[in-house]
Amino acid sequence: MNGYNFAYLDEQTKRMIRRALLKAVAIPGYQVPFGGREMPMPYGWGTGGMQLTASILGGDDVLKVIDQGADDTTNAVSIRAFFERVAGVETTTATAAADVIQTRHRIPETPLEHDQILVFQVPIPEPLRFIEPSEQETRLMHALEEYGVMHVKLYEDIARYGHIATTYAYPVKVDGRYVMDPSPIPKFDNPKLDMSAALMLFGAGREKRLYAIPPYTRVESLDFEDHPFEIQQWDEHCALCGSDHSFLDEVITDDAGNRLFICSDTDYCLTRRGEVA
């Protein structure tokens, strides 16, 4: 696009971000501060993910953007249109055809390959933030590997509700060292982080932090021996493709509150329907 560099950010900024990404890959799960820039979209709408995508995107890469697992949600449409405009790259909705996938709140159901990169949009990168609001304190806690409070929080859930009451942004431990917020993906997606073939990058624009899970890295969801980590389950199947193993969105169909369930991953659902038909 006239007047702007390829993929919007100037080359110096992209280089600064790529350097920070290299550090993030070298220290899996560690939050690397970076000189986040203002983007022409509001903070909280994916500016962190967009800066990462802009920094790693090449002219011949194929980009996919999803929000809530879907390619057609308004903000996914908006971000995809942005990169079509400022980078002129080819875009796709097919998970398997994408080189870079920017996502908000989901990991695609189709397993990712080793030549793919998943970029997460992160609102609050600090997993300890709601236990300790001060950044000075939480940085110290990470440095000292002082994560007892996190287990106390999960234990308090069990004492109060009989379950761990965290259903999304469920904390994980990366490579046995750093406790990390996987961004607000449902805990249903947490197992996909473990030993993933694809590189996973996380960008928090407003908080100016980025972090990474390199391919084939151990990622454990925090739990207790007598309360092992478990994922959401549905009694229903997808009303469109019949899937009994994907994350389902609930859709209210009439005033009487009748509802049905459909796959949140639109590409996965469409592909299955194509195969079935």
Partner: protein, 366 residues
């Protein structure tokens, strides 16, 4: 059969077209020009430039027009543009002592060298709606002095001479640059002042006000408020010379606050500082109060009020960050909401079962 809704792209395009129509308003009315906004909504332009941290009255006026007068949106537009600009040079420190004064007052002294200069101020106007302005009347020319004001000394320098107020030291270190580097808490005063200077005026006003009501009181006097134009100079290496590249309008507030002192240092007044682009007096007063409040730790004062908690104050001051994150709640959260629904239904079912068996046990006992 349910069919997933498609067509976000068309909906977005139509929404933007409708927005443009609403912005334009009734076509019978003349369209508002950027020059009119710059010339007649000056204070809005100045606020947008300050919080966007870009001195460009024309583009700030354009941002205001594009944002239909929404100040926070205009700040965001100008800030996003600012990010794309190359950094060609770094100016020499501005010398507000050489300011060409348009307004300059001190609440600490009755009369001051150079005099109290009211300038263009809303102070002392009676806040009565002027219905004459509904009609298009002529505005009289302002009264003008025969000669320009002589250079006015800074009031705090006069106190400085007597040692009554703490001196500001330049330790020569390179100041932080909050536009390039993420904040690394605790941040030093240079970074703090930068963050406050682009902080939201309403937010700083509320925090400054809270110190006056006892949440971290610091006994302020408005030592001097000045407003006017200051030269911007850069040093050109190739010529080994400092040249003036233009002037900018600034508002500055030097607050005098209650003494500090110790066994080693005699009691003396302390300072709070506020600076903003253009005519932004309220902002600079509020900023000076908050700057002083944030010096609590450095001055050995107890930290008791919200305005004294640096990480809290600074992390939430930027309206671009705050409005972005608050408004992101409008984005879809189906997946997280679905996760909560699933858990809540499970918990309620377990709760019902537990209560059911509990009631049965009660009946057995009877």
């Amino acid at each position: 059969m349910y069919v997933a809704v498609k067509g976000g792209e068309q909906a977005i395009a139509n929404a933007h077209r409708l927005l443009a129509d609403r912005r334009r308003g009734e076509r019978e009315q003349a369209e508002l020009s950027v020059e009119q906004i710059g010339g007649q909504l000056r204070l809005a332009v100045d606020r947008v430039m300050s919080e966007a941290s870009l001195y460009d009255p024309e583009l700030a006026a354009l941002a205001l027009k594009q944002a239909s007068g929404d100040l926070v949106e205009a700040v965001f537009l100008l800030r996003a543009y600012r990010t794309t600009l190359p950094r060609l040079a770094v100016s020499e420190p501005l010398d507000t002592g050489t300011m060409r004064i348009e307004r300059r007052i001190s609440a600490a002294y009755k009369d001051i060298p150079g005099g109290q200069v009211l300038g263009p101020t809303y102070d002392y106007t009676h806040r009565l709606l002027d219905f004459m302005q509904l009609a298009e009347g002529e505005t009289p020319e302002p009264a003008r002095a025969d000669a320009a004001l002589a250079r006015c000394p800074q009031i705090l320098d006069l106190l400085n001479a007597e040692g009554l107020i703490e001196r500001e030291h330049d330790d020569g270190s390179e100041p932080a640059d909050i536009t390039r580097d993420p904040p690394d808490y605790p941040v030093d005063r240079a970074a703090r002042l930068q963050m406050l200077a682009r902080g939201d005026e309403g937010y700083l006003l509320a925090l400054g006000y809270s110190t006056q009501r006892g949440y971290g009181r610091n006994h302020p006097f408005a030592g001097e408020i000045r407003l006017g134009h200051v030269d911007v100079e850069i040093h050109v290496k190739e010529w080994d010379e400092t040249i003036c590249i233009g002037e900018i309008a600034l508002s500055e507030c030097q607050m005098i606050n209650q003494f500090g002192g110790s066994r080693e240092v005699a009691p003396q007044f302390t300072r709070g500082y506020g600076l903003a682009f253009g005519h932004n007096e309220r902002k600079t007063l509020a900023m000076a109060l908050v700057d002083r409040a944030l010096r609590a730790e450095e001055l050995g004062e107890p930290i008791s009020g919200p305005a004294q908690q640096a990480e809290f104050v600074l992390a939430h001051a930027d309206s671009v960050e705050a409005s972005g994150f608050v408004s992101h709640l409008k984005l879809p959260h189906y997946v997280d909401f679905q996760s909560e629904l699933e858990l809540l239904r499970r918990l309620r079912k377990a709760h019902g079962n537990a209560r059911g068996s509990g009631d049965a046990a009660m009946e057995d006992a009877v």
